[in-house]
Symmetry: C2
Subunit: 206 residues, 2 copies
């Protein structure tokens, strides 16, 4: 009973996750989620009362995962460049596996920006906790860069090329899908190099 319930609920959550991420809240259809889960549409409403409730459930789960990963990396007590490396590796892989994720997040925060603060608490994400350690570490290693710039530039370079895949693929690779993928993987290294070179310029000479 609890076993089966878990099974159905999981199936629904998984299907909903896929559809919502690919189509967004507005584009997603309850019927499509039901079909993908191999169940009746009424059953969706039996487990999750409404589309919105289902959506919130899915989004919360995703944000928790992303947030906790980010938190772990940012709070590790290692050299800046190792943090960068860990971050780039982890998120490149995550994004390659979930190419619709960035657009989904962008879409949702645009659609409902006011709900974001609550979502952060629900997902137990505490921004201060991973900006501050970074700030300390940059100072400790003698880099005078604004930590906000540092973290935002990094996030940008990792996430944007995946979020804008179709454009990038055409703009830089004449639509060649495998060339694009190979390139994104290669960026794991080239981003780290780029950041390293940039940081060099911010080193406080003494």
């Amino acid at each position: 009973m609890t076993e089966k319930e878990k099974h159905t609920e999981e199936k629904i959550a998984e299907a909903a996750r896929e559809v919502f991420i690919e189509k967004g809240m507005d584009g997603a259809r309850m019927q499509e989620i039901a079909d993908k889960a191999g169940i009746n549409k009424s059953l969706l409403h039996y487990y999750f009362r409404s589309k919105e409730k289902l959506f919130n459930f899915v989004l919360s789960k995703i944000m928790s995962i992303i947030g906790s990963r980010l938190g772990v990396i940012m709070q590790e007590d290692v050299a800046i460049i190792d943090k960068v490396k860990a971050f780039v590796d982890l998120y490149t892989d995550l994004l390659l596996k979930n190419p619709f994720l960035p657009n989904f997040i962008f879409n949702e925060i645009t659609r409902n920006p006011d709900g974001l603060i609550d979502r952060f608490s629900t997902a137990n994400i505490k921004p201060g906790e991973f900006i501050k350690p970074l700030e300390r570490q940059l100072k400790k290693e003698g880099y005078s860069i604004n930590p906000h710039d540092f973290v935002l530039n990094l996030l940008s370079m990792v996430i944007f090329p995946v979020a804008g895949r179709p454009i990038i693929q055409i703009l830089l690779f004449e639509g060649d899908s495998s060339a694009y993928k190979k390139y994104i993987v290669s960026r794991k290294e080239s981003i780290v190099t780029y950041v390293m070179y940039a940081l060099e310029g911010y080193r406080i000479k003494q």
Copy 2:
């Protein structure tokens, strides 16, 4: 007559632009566009036969503007760092004025990636024409960086922070809207510095 027609058509196009950009194709409602244009819903269909036609019209216009701006900058025969400066200035302003634009583009290319190639031709955007001059210029100035990395990192750093505004604003500025805006403006300079420092590392010593 032609005067009035222009007036109404323009009003519709402008209203449609606003609504589509903010809500996306799926989220936009023909009624809302009609209301915003101050006209009857039937009139929308009189000028633009269907929602899709109206959407395509709006999107094409936007892409043409963005593309032509990019083309001009990329083909100017000036030092790399001046290109970077021009690009950052122009696009930061564009994005501050149209904060929903990036998400709109992401959304659309995700929703319908196959239509993108046609849209590029319609908007008369020729990717090769602004990648190649950049490639030459980088070589000429003795930087060994992969041009793809260079251009993508730049695009990322300019666009991402605006696309992800609600998150960034909470993550870095505790939700303070004016602090966020001030910061984005300040990035006009800090991005250029960051890129300059990074490029330094790619300089071929001789």
